[in-house]
């Protein structure tokens, strides 16, 4: 099998052909996801012993970025799938049912979606209203108003709920349920400004399954120790991909202008230099997140530390703000050609997709959490990694 990067580029080439249509129609990027399955990219992150390739998070981030350069909806779909898979890898590696499910993902290239939000909890995924109802070895679960990106096209869903009907809102577990075990009732269709292909519809979800399908660790621990970090890093990789693509278009625009007027530096050239500078900061930010996470994984106390949470939140906030700024630069450079939707220099889709970054877990909510944590945590001024 060729390298992950080579296969990601193939998927990117497929995604690029359909991205305009995906965006215009607000439809699932099915061609790109089919290509991911054919290239066996959906199991890349899964350890070899469970049929995957045991890729590093940094390699997955690179795949995410490559696909997102072509189609951010496809890139985000891949990122969200891997965020869910990472919970199975980190917290299901000792549970037989989940080991077998990882083998199934590898064998059948299953696409896994997430149902962590719920109507009535105000966007706080660390609170649930719905609860797992156990009866012997079986459980039932009904979750109302949950947003499930690519829910209709997923093969399985990881869903959060209170561990029991009498458990407090934050005592949550996460269960893995496959398509044949759940029913989705559409309650709100996704028709959004950008990221139109993620099809993040709202559903009433109901399922039945075996108690063994519930991940052994409580969700609070899963969120704190792997999901939050991987989520912010892979999202940042999506946004970096979008920003790179916009800068590349702006650079092509200026180069074409320079060729038409030899001997003169086009006015936009300076802004390309500025955009390249910001793009480098964004790249460094994401790489720093990968390094910090790799380091924290070696030490459980570090992984559960306030300093680590602050750092990961800052990765997300930084990337989500920079991407909009960078695309705006690309727009200033390309002018009316970038503003129009039908030129090779268009950055409208980039901008609309990127604007989602600051509200996917609202930056204001994250700043609020960090503000609270900084009442305790003292920032480390050291440059040493």
């Amino acid at each position: 099998m060729s390298s992950l990067v080579a296969r990601a580029q193939l998927v990117g080439a497929v995604a690029a052909q359909y991205c305009e249509h995906v965006d215009k129609e607000g439809r699932f990027p099915s061609e790109a996801v089919r290509a991911m399955k054919e290239a066996r990219l959906l199991s890349a992150f899964i350890p070899r012993e469970f049929g995957g390739e045991g890729a590093e998070l940094s390699e997955i981030a690179e795949v995410v970025s490559i696909i997102s350069q072509a189609c951010a909806s496809a890139g985000m779909t891949y990122a969200m799938h891997q965020i869910k898979v990472s919970s199975l890898i980190s917290h299901g590696d000792r549970a037989e049912w989940h080991q077998e499910f990882m083998r199934r993902i590898s064998r059948e290239q299953l696409l896994v979606a997430s149902a962590t939000t719920e109507g009535g909890v105000g966007g706080n995924l660390r609170n649930s209203i719905c609860a797992i109802e156990r009866s012997g070895d079986r459980f039932t679960l009904v979750k109302d108003g949950t947003c499930i990106s690519y829910g209709r096209d997923a093969d399985a869903i990881l869903i959060t709920a209170r561990s029991a009907p009498d458990a407090p809102a934050s005592d949550q577990v996460m269960a893995v349920v496959s398509k044949d075990q759940y029913k989705l009732e559409l309650t709100g269709a996704w028709d959004a400004m950008g990221m139109r292909g993620t099809c993040s519809d709202n559903f009433k979800f109901s399922a039945e399954g075996d108690v063994a399908q519930i991940l052994p660790n409580d969700f609070g621990e899963i969120a704190a120790k792997s999901m939050l970090a991987i989520c912010h890093i892979l999202w940042s990789a999506v946004w970096y991909g979008i920003a790179s693509s916009a800068v590349s278009r702006a650079q092509s625009f200026v180069r074409a202008e320079a060729r038409r007027n030899p001997g003169q530096t086009p006015p936009g050239a300076l802004r390309v230099a500025e955009a390249a500078n910001m793009l480098q900061l964004m790249r460094s930010n994401t790489i720093a997140g990968l390094t910090r996470f790799a380091q924290a994984k070696l030490n459980d106390d570090d992984l559960g530390s306030v300093g680590f949470i602050v750092a990961m939140n800052n990765i997300k906030i930084g990337a989500s703000r920079m991407v909009v700024d960078i695309i705006n630069h690309a727009l200033l450079i390309t002018g009316i050609n970038g503003y129009r939707n039908n030129t090779p220099y268009s950055v409208g889709r980039h901008m609309r997709d990127a604007l989602s970054a600051q509200i996917m877990i609202s930056n204001d909510r994250i700043f609020g959490n960090v503000a609270n944590l900084l009442l305790m945590h003292r920032l480390d001024p050291s440059l040493a990694a």
């Binding site: 407090p168 409580d218 570090d302 530390s305 306030v306 945590h377």
Partner: protein, 83 residues
């Protein structure tokens, strides 16, 4: 010290249950402690016991149970055990 701790938990940890109903080794996060409330509780503990939690104690494990909180406080201020 556990009595003082239970009082502070009731006041700052925003648990859906009274601290008196919780065992000292019971997981506070499972009982409903959020990371936001954990920080509020830490600040209240610093004030009550006149201590300052060093960076190495600012993690999930230190505040997971009343026992682990007591261990942190005792390490920082051995005489606090008597209070």
């Amino acid at each position: 010290m556990l009595d003082t701790l239970r009082q502070l938990i009731d006041k700052h940890a925003r648990l859906p249950v009274q601290a008196a109903t919780l065992g000292s080794g019971q997981d506070l996060y499972a009982a409903g402690l959020t990371s936001f409330a954990a920080v509020q509780l830490m600040l209240a503990l610093e004030e009550a016991f006149d201590i300052e939690f060093p960076e190495r104690m600012l993690n999930r494990r230190s505040f997971a149970t009343m026992d682990s909180i007591v261990a942190c406080i005792t390490e920082l201020r051995p005489q606090a055990l008597a209070s």
